[in-house]
Amino acid sequence: MRARSYVFRRLILLIPQVLGVTTVVFILVRLLPGDPAYLIAGSLATQDVINSIREHLGLNRPIWEQYLIYLGNVARGDLGRSWLTSSQVLEDVLRRLPATLELITLALILAFCIALPLGMMTALRPRGIADRVASGYGMLAVAMPDFWWALILVFVLFGKFQIVPAPIGRIDIALSPPPHVTGMYVVDSLLDGDWRRLQSSVAHLMLPAFTLAFVYAGPILKMTRATMSQALLGNFIMYARASGLPRSVVTRYALRNALLPVITMTGITYGYLIGGAVLIEQIFAWGGLGQYAVQAITSSDYMAVSGVVLATTVFSLLVYLAMDLLYLAVDPRIRY
């Protein structure tokens, strides 16, 4: 099968990609100005302290040797030890990943649910009021700084009306987290059948998720509208209508063709959000990867920084891989 060989080649491609990314991360941390030992030790440290840190980190060896050691470590899943939490970076990352995933997955689902029907509606009735409103919103959402939007929402919904809980954490401070299964509080409390925890975690999740959804629905909406109206004016839609196919079938034809780029767009957004929800996490004290990254960066915890960058990048590469395979399944024209 050609499809199978495509899948195989696409999977093989992942190897140089990850290698490249790892290399860049290595260069980023080791070669740019700013001695990591110096960063770690802080500006007041004596030369002796710095030297001992250098030795400890293997920084006094030749650079290629350091590179190989680093590659070897990464291959074994050893991303180094965090200066700040003094645990393995990989463990830290894995512990915080579910929080971020829960947030951005829900955000993306919400965004998709807002964008797709709106985009379709506006494409089906161009130049109407709905179209103008929706395209205005699309434009605005793209320009909107998400962190600012989050602040406004917190101000109005929490500060003024108190209809959402305080933007601190993922669950009420008085409650302990649900028993760990997936690490996503909503899912875990559901599995546990714990109504109070579920309620609280959903309440905490809604606002940050909606904030992200509101902003990132913009590009998806624009894409849906563009591809859908293009599809509707396409030759084959015109022909389907001329063949007297019922409206429902014609719309289905158009939607299926319009959906491909929309799915790509959604995938790219997902890959972006894994590292792009940093500011929102910060504002809601979410305790996910993003907040971890900020902590690491502000305290110059360079092992944690490189680890988190590497982990999120590999995650987005996996998302893009999934997109490509999905495309393969949906579009018969792809046969490399």
Binding site: Y239, A240, Y253, R256, N257, P332, R333
Partner: protein, 322 residues
């Protein structure tokens, strides 16, 4: 023979930022049952817009601004969408150019064909699939059962065109509109496709509009001809009459332009077709016409019958024939 489709004063305009483009400027046209009517015109003459106008499917920014298209007692331009849906495809079949782009790229052709068949009355899925195979066989596609699973991008232009013919004729339409069905195909394939259309419409007793820019196709396959220029019919006649006595200066030039033997200093028309956004006053041909008279710049000539069944839109030629 009775009239099947009768078009009166059809006008189609394009409203864009460049202004108003008058693509079709008041066309009267009718086709009898079983008649094969050829429409010839160059690019910009409005011939393809007419094809979509006939089934009331003009894409924006195009707009039908006036006229009637009477089909068996109903005006297609004023019929509600639901009943149009039942006429399109079922009673009026359409074949367009570049079939590969007119088929849905994501669905196997068998399913597209079956979808069309089911839209026109065959409820049963199995019956629709069987009928699809039958139609593919009818249009001469080798190994139709296997072809059902092909996607449009896997077909050659000729095969795709055959699939489209199968779709258009699957419900025995009374009228077939073929809009440049062979443009972009090689001559040997073109010959196959035209022969196929010709045979099938005879078999099904369908009337046909054959729209093309190739006079040869009209001469070989049609009974009468209408010549379009700048959205107007400038000459209309039975095919034999037309080729023996082309009367309008544009028709004369058109016939001369497809001559095969060299003629020293043959007189063609200088210049180019007018811009539909900026049509000249009077007869649209006047800037290029060798016979031009002052009146041609002032008044639009009417379509006059110079001999029985032969209509010409030209001040000068109308006078000569009287």
């Amino acid at each position: 023979m009775s009239v099947l489709l009768d078009v009166r004063d059809l006008r189609i305009e394009f409203h864009t930022s460049e202004g108003i483009g008058r693509a079709v400027n008041g066309i009267d046209l009718s086709v009898d049952e079983r008649q094969i009517m050829g429409i010839v015109g160059e690019s910009g003459s409005g011939k393809s817009v007419i094809a979509s106008g006939l089934v009331n499917l003009v894409n924006p920014p195009g707009k039908i601004v006036s006229g009637t298209v009477m089909y068996r007692g109903r005006d297609l331009l004023r019929e509600p969408d639901r009943s149009l849906q039942r006429i399109r495809g079922r009673e009026i079949g359409l074949i367009v150019q570049n079939a590969k782009s007119a088929l849905n790229p994501l669905i196997p052709i068998g399913r597209q064909l079956a979808n069309a068949i089911r839209a026109h009355g065959t409820r049963d899925a199995q019956a629709a699939a069987d009928h699809a195979i039958l139609m593919l066989e009818k249009v001469g596609i080798p190994d139709p059962v296997m072809r059902l699973h092909s996607y449009p991008h896997q077909l050659s232009g000729g095969i795709a065109q055959r699939v489209m013919i199968a779709m258009a004729l699957s419900s025995n339409p009374r009228l077939l509109i073929a809009d440049e069905p062979t443009s972009g195909l090689d001559v040997t394939i073109q010959a196959q496709i035209l022969d196929l259309i010709h045979t099938l419409v005879h078999e099904l007793h369908s009337a046909t509009f054959l729209i093309t820019r190739d006079l040869g196709i009209i001469a070989q396959h049609c009974e009468s001809i209408a010549v379009l220029y700048a959205g107007l019919i400038i000459e209309q006649a039975p095919v034999r009459v037309f080729f023996r006595h082309p009367t309008h200066p544009y028709s004369e030039a058109l016939i001369k332009s497809v001559a095969t033997t060299r003629e020293r200093g043959r007189r063609l028309l200088p210049g180019t077709s007018p811009n539909i956004y900026d049509l000249p006053g009077g007869c649209p041909l006047n800037p290029r016409c060798p016979l031009v008279q002052p009146i041609c710049r002032e008044a639009m000539p009417g379509l006059q019958e110079t001999s029985p069944g032969h209509f010409v839109r030209c001040h000068v030629r109308a006078l000569e024939s009287n």
